[in-house]
Structure formats: structure tokens, C-alpha cells
Symmetry: D3
Subunit: 167 residues, 6 copies
Amino acid sequence: MPQNPPSKDDKNQLTHFDVSGKAHMVDVGEKKETHRIAIASGSIHMKPETMALVLAGQADKGDVLGIARIAAIMGAKKTSELIPLCHPVGLTKVTVDFTTENTCVTCRAQAETMGKTGVEMEALTAVQVGLLTIYDMLKAVDRGMVMTDIHLQEKSGGQSGHWISEK
Amino acid sequence: MPQNPPSKDDKNQLTHFDVSGKAHMVDVGEKKETHRIAIASGSIHMKPETMALVLAGQADKGDVLGIARIAAIMGAKKTSELIPLCHPVGLTKVTVDFTTENTCVTCRAQAETMGKTGVEMEALTAVQVGLLTIYDMLKAVDRGMVMTDIHLQEKSGGQSGHWISEK
Amino acid sequence: MPQNPPSKDDKNQLTHFDVSGKAHMVDVGEKKETHRIAIASGSIHMKPETMALVLAGQADKGDVLGIARIAAIMGAKKTSELIPLCHPVGLTKVTVDFTTENTCVTCRAQAETMGKTGVEMEALTAVQVGLLTIYDMLKAVDRGMVMTDIHLQEKSGGQSGHWISEK
Amino acid sequence: MPQNPPSKDDKNQLTHFDVSGKAHMVDVGEKKETHRIAIASGSIHMKPETMALVLAGQADKGDVLGIARIAAIMGAKKTSELIPLCHPVGLTKVTVDFTTENTCVTCRAQAETMGKTGVEMEALTAVQVGLLTIYDMLKAVDRGMVMTDIHLQEKSGGQSGHWISEK
Amino acid sequence: MPQNPPSKDDKNQLTHFDVSGKAHMVDVGEKKETHRIAIASGSIHMKPETMALVLAGQADKGDVLGIARIAAIMGAKKTSELIPLCHPVGLTKVTVDFTTENTCVTCRAQAETMGKTGVEMEALTAVQVGLLTIYDMLKAVDRGMVMTDIHLQEKSGGQSGHWISEK
Amino acid sequence: MPQNPPSKDDKNQLTHFDVSGKAHMVDVGEKKETHRIAIASGSIHMKPETMALVLAGQADKGDVLGIARIAAIMGAKKTSELIPLCHPVGLTKVTVDFTTENTCVTCRAQAETMGKTGVEMEALTAVQVGLLTIYDMLKAVDRGMVMTDIHLQEKSGGQSGHWISEK
């Protein structure tokens, strides 16, 4: 349990709520259009024999990661439909990469815009949809896969500037 | 690296690919319409002071979890738009719960249908969208939050019957 | 202010909430698939000279009501995307009619399904999108139009049977 | 019946049609990007005992208006998908408020953009989806609710400048 | 110009219109749920050097056809959103194949359902989206590509039974 | 079969792939916002008696082409949802025209934006959805219709400047 309950002033720290606690899509009209970049990543863990199927697909047939990449890119474009208070954003770039290590596939997505609001949610949504698609394509052989460690790695642009995850 | 490379026969274990390795939406036309249930869960970890804001919202104003619940339910309905080879499913029920413990919020989603194909992806998508929405609403105060341990807990119905995660 | 505050038992009258007040998509899995019909209507009021433009379009060019009809039918198909706790429904029929009287256009929509849950929301959504589309097409000449009297006229099928508005 | 049938010249008053009466998405390419604001409102009337349930939810459990607010904000983002000839707009702000009086809930939505075209339709769509969501959540106890008086209250920005409803 | 103008009775040949010529989503409620299959195909013609890039991608990197296949399958699921009077259909299977010959890629899509209405539009939409995606990925090197010969090849199920194109 | 297999350098001709052949949404952040226009067209061939029904609708009832026009305009707005690597674009204008000649309807769509990337795909998607909608509305009387000759006619704006089809 949290030891330090927030004071009354803490409420407006949450920009998605007004002073009376009601949700709104926050005003970004006066924000500058700057070049904004966000990078997110996350992993999915599977059985060794499942990973063998993934790797076989890369070399040969049944390209699980190629399909997950397309789903992730398309997912980034759906962010503002999925996240209630997200602003619609004109994405100028989305890239999605997968790396494999032991029994784990890691998805890394980078989103960019020239806009008034950041693209952290777009990068994170791309990662989540990418991982979900991998799960979908492999679940017939491995229902116990676990998606983990999904987080923002880095973002730049906007008032809050450059931020890098301590992880 | 996987120790046991798959034999040639392993390819058709991946039902989303045909024998030549091409992706398809697998034929479920002959499957029985049964009552299918899937339960998934996942967590998001945050700073103690961020959790304090979440808990304050439950008691008072700025209901982060209430909004995330709505987003998760709506997200479940978007599953077949997000996951390339998912069949459209007529969901008959979706419930989403959140529990908080220390600095972690856990989201648990249950999806049901009377249909020809399972709803594992719907339950998992609900969890992912729920966690992403929490991230979105709290990111102004805590960009370092991490989503983790997203997995299927249990599913029933269909040819493969009842399955429970060993976790 | 309401004179009769609800007793504690009243809460579960609202089927979209569980006993603890949390929103869910209610379980319809055990409901019977019956033929369900819903009829809704609503009106938009405008200046006489605006109505003259609408009527001119019917006879000649610039078919405001024909376009609003298409938008209304397509809107019915989007209902479960717009209304958070609505079930996806396989609509088997949608019809939309417009009648004009004095300075008022009335939109009437009928939706049908063979399913486990009613289509009241589909009929009402069709009406709202139809009226909004009329507003959009005429707003350049009449911003003061008012949409009014949008309500369910009649519904049949399902456990609650036949219901007709007293209006 | 309108007394003054429009002359032939009246056709191009309807900007959504070209000179031959064919619908198009009107050219806004040369319009200036200005700060545009629109405010719309509308009401839903219900039985006293239904309103009591709404008010109970605000104080305690089953937050009908909180969910309707989220649906309304998300609905605003879907405007150009619903209204055939609407331009896609990069919304910079959406707020939605509800007030209750006797047996009536009034929804008021404000939409803003820095763009080439107004956001009247976005504000009106938010109101309609907000009212529809209230209807959906309460219809199990009160099918006879009526949505009424949905109109634009005020708009500013763009060539036509500031406009306030006479109502 | 057609030599044989339709008689008055011809109007209701077009099932998407009622007797007064108004569009509606036609009633399929009484139709039987049968196994329905539709197969459509279409081609895109390009320069020899563009085709060389497509073929290189199949053998190696830059898998244009693999991505077009995913887009086509996802497009099939969007049919009822795109085509105004199409019923939403629960697709049970979608497969998409590409064959190459000289300077032409041919896309062939098969859609299936157990439902009350056919899936011809789903198969055709899959083909169109598949071809458009190929165009998009190759347009940087060959803007003059032409899509052609998009048609229904065959359909079965439903009242009208088995039909095969004469082509 | 192509006589001249591409050299290794040819791969990066396909801008939708990175140097290792992985698909991405290409970076347009540094591109200039210019006025971009694209015009596409395509045709659908039908039986004489089917064309007679189309023409009857224009003069009287059952306006096939009016509905196809609306579908085409709405389809243009869905382009970035359908085509995996397309950027979302703020369309400033969409017009769609149909001409009839003998047993053929030709659809011509023009899309415009003030943006960082072209609108060729938007114009082509409008044409495809327009033709599909015509097919849908007439298929009850003529399943053998063929869509053909869908191509870009002309585009202007952006780095590659003005381009006109040689056809």
C-alpha cells in the first residue's frame, strides 16, 4: 500500500483529468509542432520447440515475424481508436524490428511524427499488437507463452524533451 | 538457440499457414459452435506515488481504472481488426477487473462466445488495451511504467477442451 | 431532484453493471436466438428556405436524404464500435426512411437480427447518424438546425417481448 | 410546405454538392489553418426513478455518466468515418460535460482543432454518442427515454467567424 | 446505349432498392444458414523490371506478395464497412494466393461462411485490397501499373446455388 | 520471366523495405508539405440489360451511381487502414465521377491534400470501392461483371513532380 497518499494538489498531475476529476482529451492546440520520436519494446517467451518454428519460418516458410511486423505497423495507426483519450496523430514513420534470443522474441517499435503531441502510445501499441500477433500464430502449439517487459525505451521532442528509460 | 530443430512435418503445426507456408485465415466452417471461454491477465508496474494517484481516483476523482475497463472491453471487440488472421467473433460476454497490490495493477479479462473458434485473442487484447490505457493516463507522471506477465490463464470449449496455465 | 432515491437493490436493475458497480458487457450466451426487430425515429428542424433546398434535391439534384440514408445504414453497422457495452450483432436487415413536414425532416430506422440480443441501439444509432448527416450537408446555409425527439418507437423479440412507445 | 421554392442558383449554396448536384468532399486545401472551436449540446429525458439510478451512480457505483463521457470523446474521433462528406480532422481538444436537472441529463461537448475546416460535426457527434450511451446503459429500466434538443451552441474560427445559437 | 430499356417490373430486380427505389440493407433474416463459398480473382500488370523486383522478394528479401496477402485477408474482414449495403458476415475462412506470369501478378481469393448471405463481396474486396497493396509497394518504381480483370470466378451455397464464370 | 534479374542495389528502389528487406512505414518527416493531387480511374463492364438498370436509376429511382459515389469518397478516407504501409493523410478534397458508355461504367476519382506524402493510393482506393459498390448493387442480376483498367491517370506535387499516364 502506498505510504504517501497524494495531497489535493496531486490531482492535476494527471493531465487526462480536469480539476473536478473528469476525463477529457487534453488541449494540445497551443503546443508546438516538433519532431517527436518514441521507441518502445517488449518480449514474448515461448517453449524451445516453439521458437524453433519461428526460426524455421524466417529461413523458409511461414513467416511469423514478417506478419507480426505488418500487424504492428497497422496497429500503430489504430492507437487513437483504441486508447480513449489519445489524440489522432499523423505518423510520419513507423519501424518495427524483432530479435530472437533463446526462447524469447523481442519486438522494438519506433514511431515518429511532426506534431503537437508525442507518439509514445503509438510505439507501445505497435509492440503490443506485434506480440499479440505472434501469440496468435503460435498458440496452436504453445498456449503458455507470456508477454513481458513492455515499456517505453526512449522518447524525444516536445516540451518534456529527451527521456531515456533507466532499464 | 533451440536444441531440436523442427522436422519438416512441424510446419503444419502452425495452423495459420498452409503446407507451402503461406498465411491464411484457417477454415473453421466445420467446427462446432460451443460455449467458449477465455481468461487472460497481465500487470503494469509503477512508482509508489503513481499508484497513490490511481488509488485516490478510485476513492474520489479521476477514475483511471474505470476508463481502462471501458477501453479494454471496447478493445476486445476490435481484436479481429488488429490481429491479421483472427476470425471475427460474436462476443457474448466481456468482463474486465483490476486489482492493485503494492506498486502493481493487474488486469484480468474474461471473454465468451457461442462460436466456432476460441476467444483467447479477445481476452488477451482486452488486457493489453486495458494496460495501455492505464499507461496513457499516468504517463505524464511516470514514463517508466512496465507492462508484464500478460498471458492466458485459462480457456474452455472447443476441440482442445479445458486448459489452465501452469503459472 | 428525484423524490424516491433507489434502494440498494436497485443497482442490479442496471444490467451493464455488476453487483459492485463495475461496467461489463453483459452475458447473453444463454439467451435464445430469436427474431428481433427495433424501430426508432427522430427529427431535425430547419428554416423554411433550408427545407426548400432539401425538397429541391429530391426532385432534382443534390440528394441530401439519399446520402443521409446511406450514412444511417452504415452507421447502424458501427453501433458496437460506438457504444462501449453493446454486443456485436449480425444485422439481417436495415431500412431507413425520411418524411418531410413543414420545416422538419423525420428519420425512421428499422433494424432486425436473428440473435441473442436486441437491436434497439442499432436503430437509434442509424437515426442519429442520419440526422447528423443531414445537418452536415445543410449547415453551410443553416447552422441553427435542431435535432429532436429521438426515441425508440417499438421493439419485438427476446425475453421482454413486444414493446411500443406511448408517444 | 415551403413558400419560396429555391431558384436555380440556390443549388450551390449547398457546398457538399457540385454544380451538377453531385456530392463531393469539398476542397478545403486553400483554407487557412486557424484555431477552430465548436460547442454542441443535447439532452435525454427519463423517468424520475431512472434519474435516481444515474445520480446514485455518481455518488457511488455504476458510473453511467463517466462511461458516456468516454464514449462521447471516442465518438468525436470517429466523426469522419460516420459522416460521409466530413474531412478527417486532427482534434486538439475534446471535453464533454453532463449536467442533470429534474428528469433530464444534458450533454455538452466542446471540440477544437488548428485546421482548415470546422469541428461542428465532431462536437455534435460527441453529444449524440454520449446520449446514445446513456440510453444503452439505462434502457433495461426505461425504454421510453427521449433524446432532444441536440444543436450547435457556438462556433468560432474560420472564414465564417464567431457564431452563437439564438436559442 | 442499351437497346432494351427495362420495363417497370425490372426495378425490383435490384434487391438493394425497395419498390420506391430507396436503398436498404435487404432482409436476409429468413434465409437459410448454408455453407457459402466465393472465389474471385484479378491481376496487376507491371514493367518487366518491376516484376523482377517482386520475384527477387519471393526468393530473398522484401516480400511484396506476403504483405499483400495479409492486407487482402484483413481487407476481406472490412468488406461490410466499405460496401454500404453489405451485411456483416462471420467469415469462417479466407485464403489468398498470388501467381506470376510474365509481367502480371494474379491474385485469387477464396472466402467462406456458414451464413445467411453470400461472400462474393468479401472475396472481391480481398482481391482489390491485395492488388492495391502491391501497387502501393511498387509505385516508387512503376506508377503506370494497371489492375485489371477483377471478377467473381465461382460461388456456391445459398438459394441461387452454384455459379461459375464463363470466362 | 524477367530477363534481367535485379542487382543487389535494386532492393532499395522499393522504399517500403529497409536495406535488409524488412517492411516499414517509410519516413516522410523531412518531406515538404506541398499541394498534392492524384487522379485515378477504372471501369466495370456489364450486360446491356444491367446497364439499362443503371441508367434507369439515374433518371428515376434506385440511384446506383449516387450510392457508389458516397462509398468511394468514404473509401478514400479508409485508405491508410486498408493498405498496410500507407501513411495517414489529411485529405482536403475528394471528388468522384462516373461516366457511362455502352456496357461500361467508368469511375474517376480525384484526391488532394496539403501534406508530406502523395494521395495516389487514396484516389485508387476510391475507384476500387466505387466499382465494388456498383458490383454489389447489381450482382443480383449480373454476377459476371468485370472490373478493369484501374490505374493512376495523373499526379502532381511532391519531390517527383507532375506525372501523367501514357495510356
